[in-house]
């Protein structure tokens, strides 16, 4: 488990258009390039913000990641996602 690698990829997903595009079009290919375990990949696949924060990811980064990559990037949608128990999003699939 590596919070640092998670943060590295999530920072790119905030500032790098090419990486953001690949996240939309080829998420598995993108994730395979980073040393992430299955749980971390699931957090990213499902945009599981509570799990990311429980993992130690900086909340400023989870917020930026949401604004730049969520289908509904509104603050209200972010807050709704944040209220779910960590892992709930991932388990639901």
């Amino acid at each position: 488990m590596s919070r640092n690698v998670m943060e590295r990829l999530m920072h790119k997903l905030c500032v790098d258009r090419v990486v953001k595009q690949r996240f939309k079009e080829d998420i598995e290919g993108l994730l395979s390039r980073y040393k992430l375990d299955d749980a971390e990949k699931d957090m990213l696949r499902h945009m599981d913000i509570p799990a990311m924060q429980a993992h130690g990811v900086n909340p400023m980064l989870t917020l930026g990641f949401w604004f730049e990559n969520a289908s509904d990037p509104s603050p209200m949608a972010y807050m709704k996602a944040l209220q779910k128990p960590a892992g709930a999003v991932t388990k639901q699939g």
């Binding site: 943060e7 590295r8 500032v15 900086n58 400023m60 980064l61 944040l82």
Partner: protein
């Protein structure tokens, strides 16, 4: 020989631009007017440069490099995070003074990281656009010198080091070859919880505590604030009072006055505006 001629502490709240009509009309008008008041006060200081101290929001800097403190010594533009009413533009700089501050620091125990060409985020762009640009439009020539300190991403710069960094800026300005008149603007705070479940919470008691320290010039009280205390009472966004500490360190012993304050949950922060008088 230059001089620090004054300071300000102001918010850099992006939600003001993203949801400008969220608070009640009286509140939002007062908060925008507070920026106008800062601009009017800045115009009276006849400044040649402003040092705007901001926080990285895990936006300018990634995991590859997280500087404790950085100064932009070359061309400046921004913000990189454009938003309605805050488009990206060139920002007038002061390369000679910025380079001097970096060099002076390197000779006196402050190993500045340096950005030779830099795109600021909203932490510097908002006060530059709302406070400095209006004064430029009056005909004054003011160069902006962005400084970023680690208050958003750990490892955080310590409060004591932030105060000392303000002192280093002051020493460098006073050793400058030209008669520069410099204003230091601390951009950030006060209490807010960024990206956390408590987002929207504001702690007025904490906000008033910090504004009181600023107005009293109480460096000892600022220096004694622990990270645990700030995170508990001011949130992760409250760590941005480090920018206020830099201003206080640059103007030791100076008193301040509150221009305006309001807790604005709709804009997720306590918005405090303070002028430090030299």
């Amino acid at each position: 020989m230059g001089k620090i001629v004054g300071g300000f502490m102001v918010p850099h709240d992006p939600i003001m631009f993203q949801a400008p009509e969220a608070p009640a009309p009286e509140v939002r008008q007062r908060m925008w007017a507070a920026f106008d008041s800062c601009a009017e006060r800045l115009a009276k200081l006849d400044a040649t440069a402003v040092v705007i101290v901001g926080a990285d929001h895990y936006f300018n800097f990634g995991t590859e490099c997280l500087p404790q403190y950085l100064i932009a010594t070359g061309d400046v533009d921004g913000p990189m995070d454009v938003m309605p009413g805050l488009k990206r533009q060139q920002i007038p700089d002061h390369q000679a003074l910025a380079t001097h501050i970096a060099a002076h620091g390197h000779e006196h125990g402050f190993d500045w990281a340096v950005a030779r060409a830099f795109t600021v985020d909203h932490a510097v762009a908002i006060p530059d656009r709302l406070i400095v640009d209006p004064v430029r439009k009056l005909g004054q020539t003011i160069g902006t010198i962005p400084v970023y300190i680690a208050s958003g991403v750990d490892p955080y710069i310590s409060m004591k080091r932030a105060i000392a960094l303000g002192g280093a800026i002051r020493a460098a300005v006073e050793a400058a070859p030209e008669n520069e008149r410099v204003v230091v603007i601390g951009s950030g705070g006060i209490s807010h919880w960024v990206g956390l479940p408590e987002m929207g919470r504001v702690n007025e008691a904490f906000d008033h505590e910090i504004m009181t320290y600023a107005c009293e010039g109480n460096l000892a009280a600022m220096a004694s604030l622990t990270d645990d205390y700030i995170l508990t009472h001011g949130g992760n966004g409250g760590m941005e009072i480090r920018q206020w500490a830099v201003v206080m360190g640059a103007l030791p012993g100076a008193k301040g006055e509150i221009i305006d304050y309001e807790a604005v949950p709709e804009w997720v922060t306590g918005l405090g505006f303070v002028q430090i008088l030299n």
